[in-house]
């Protein structure tokens, strides 16, 4: 950036954005095609590598990579997600927090901040896709993947805290970039720096894509579903302005409102699901029968049992981000002397995200009878194209979830739109932070450098909402999973360090050296 441009960006960020906004819509159409074309030409190979299937199957290797990682961590740490579950809840409740540390970030706050970055479209739309393709049995595999993913989160978040950077002014920076560099050095293994740079690049791309454009795009799609079609750039500009006010203008009030409303929406969502399940309590047994039977037998779904397994694993991985490394950035800023405690707290994330919220969505879809089955054979009926199970309304994705909830409460679709928009927004705010941390890791800290990232981030909100940029969105999704490739590799290298930390902590907990305060 030239000196002139830098000065302008520093002194007039609002004007710079206004200029951007003014020129964008007019060019949007041409720009869309141009960008899409550019991305398609240069990145398709990358997307193809990340999402390619094992030869002769429709099983993407990246899904296997995440699930194998989660299984290895589960075994290596001796099913820590079950052993430490109760203790994790005590930690979140503040039982082990020193009252003199009041005013610092609590475990509860670290958990909810990280959760607001993951709870989102995956829980609402992703599950519906999994069920409509993989049948009820997909739920079983989704829950299993969620339970295993808890061990991945534990590993990455413990490392995130252990190897974070603490600065003189009291702020901290952490995440996979830092544990790759410092952890590898400590173990005397080369390559940490290269992996950290790779991770940071993928993280920036992922923050523009899956954590931003994809969210804006889906939020716009949901709004138009309810209020009718209108140009996407309008949604994009509105969202970009709000994001701009929060991340550049430092307008904490908006962020604070969102952070307060998001858990509230999640509670309404789960609460409504529980009411619907309760209203159909006689169907609960049948729903679980379908889930278990579908998980191990061919109940007529696409791909049979393996199809259910792929869909379940895939959606769980997409939803809870275990192994991706993003949570390690979010959790590393917490104030704790024991890295292990943050690992324990973070392992609740996939549990809440996948095992509870995703399962609620699945149960409501199954119980309200959205899936059409043949009364004589008991097998599910596929749609005409044979790509998914026939649903009552013919919908899939968010629309299917909306149908299921609206069949009990017709007003729920409006709540759902609000939930999708707010979830999208809070995910964007979280990812803007993850991206910024990766950005400053690569380019160093500094107001101008950070402003450049933030303006780029706002710019991508508009692009994401304005267009159906298939290639761009594919690429950004791929970037998020590329983060997992680098991150899980680093976790394998560093897991003995986590084990030592964990054993030391558990021993001191057992001996009574670590005690409850209240």
């Amino acid at each position: 950036m030239t000196r002139h441009a830098t000065t302008m960006a520093r002194s007039l960020p609002a004007a710079a954005l206004a200029l951007m906004l003014a020129t964008l819509p007019a060019r949007a159409q041409g720009l869309d095609t141009a960008i899409d074309g550019f991305f398609a030409a240069t990145t398709t190979w990358f997307v193809n590598i990340i999402f390619s299937n094992f030869p002769g199957t429709s099983f993407p290797w990246i899904v296997a990579w995440l699930v194998v990682g989660a299984t290895v961590f589960t075994l290596y740490f001796g099913f820590i997600q079950f052993r430490a579950f109760r203790h994790s809840i005590h930690l979140v409740r503040g039982d082990y927090s020193n009252p003199n540390d009041a005013g610092e970030v609590s475990h509860f706050q670290a958990l909810t901040t990280a959760l607001s970055g993951t709870v989102g479209l995956g829980n609402i739309a992703g599950v519906a896709v999994a069920i409509s393709i993989g049948g009820p049995g997909a739920t079983f595999w989704m829950i299993l993947a969620g339970l295993l993913g808890m061990a991945s989160k534990f590993t990455e978040c413990t490392l995130g805290v252990k190897y974070r950077n603490e600065y003189a002014d009291g702020t901290v920076s952490g995440g996979p970039m830092y544990y790759m560099v410092k952890g590898f050095k400590e173990r005397g293994i080369p390559g940490g720096k290269i992996m950290a740079v790779l991770f940071a690049i993928f993280c920036i791309l992922g923050s523009f894509g899956g954590g931003n454009m994809f969210q804006a795009n889906q939020a716009h799609a949901q709004i138009t579903n309810v209020v009718g079609a209108y140009p996407g750039w309008i949604t994009g500009v509105v969202m970009a302005v709000i994001v701009f006010l929060v991340i550049v203008g430092g307008l904490k009030s908006i962020a604070r409102v969102t952070e307060k409303v998001v858990p509230f929406m999640a509670a309404i969502y789960v609460g409504t699901a529980l009411i619907i399940i309760g209203m159909n309590y006689d169907m609960i047994g049948e729903a679980f029968r379908q889930i278990f039977v579908g998980a191990f037998t061919n109940d007529g779904v696409v791909g049979g049992m393996i199809g259910a397994l792929i869909q379940g694993f895939r959606r769980a991985a997409f939803s809870n981000e275990a192994g991706v490394g993003s949570a390690a950035i979010a959790h590393s800023a917490v104030r704790t002397k024991e890295p292990t405690t943050e690992g324990f707290v973070s392992l609740l994330e996939p549990f809440i995200d996948t095992v509870i919220i995703c399962t609620m969505t699945a149960l409501v879809i199954i119980i309200t009878g959205q899936l059409v089955s043949d009364p004589t054979t008991g097998l599910f009926v596929l749609n005409e194209a044979g790509t998914q199970i026939q649903t009552v309304t013919g919908n899939s994705g968010v629309a299917l979830t909306s149908d299921a909830f609206s069949s009990a409460f017709s007003w729920f679709r409006y709540i759902l739109v609000l939930a999708v928009v707010l979830f999208a927004f809070s995910t964007m705010i979280s990812w803007s932070y993850y991206g910024l941390k990766a950005w400053t890791f690569l380019f160093g800290e500094g107001q101008t450098k950070e402003l450049i990232f933030k303006l780029l981030f706002c710019f991508f909100v508009i692009i994401g909402a304005a267009s159906s940029l298939g290639a761009v969105i594919d690429f950004s999704d791929a970037a998020i999973f590329a983060m997992a490739v680098v991150n899980i590799l680093a976790l394998y290298v560093l897991m003995p360090i986590v084990k030592a930390e964990m054993n030391s902590y558990l021993a001191r907990l057992k001996s009574g050296e670590i005690r409850k305060y209240n």
Partner: protein, 144 residues
Amino acid sequence: MTRKIVVGYDGSETARRALDFAMARARAEGNSIVIAHVLEWSPYSFLTPSEVEERHRRRSEELQRAETAILAPVVAEVEQAGIPVATVLRYGHIAETMARIAKDEDAAMLIIGRMGHSGFAARIFGSVAATLAQASPVPVVIVP
């Protein structure tokens, strides 16, 4: 033996009246004063990632500000009046934390100012004075 009077002090006018009341009592009975200031804080509020990152620095700043702007001036004043004085600065739910301070200090009495907002806001959020009147471990004086 001298006993402690804990005064809730937040720099407001009513808190000032509470402190004056406490000083009169302390002088008359030879007690000491503990000036307590509580910074409203809930471990269950929600923060954005950047707020999480800055929290530790902000906390130091907040403590510093409370110490210099709120506590230091009145401490000097109470000392000049010849009354032994100490301060307590904590984060937490205001009423609960005040009650805990009174207990920890083994106070003879807790003196607070009436918070001012009556009616609607107090009905929804609960008033500190009303909560302490019900939950305080030591006698409470509420100064209007």
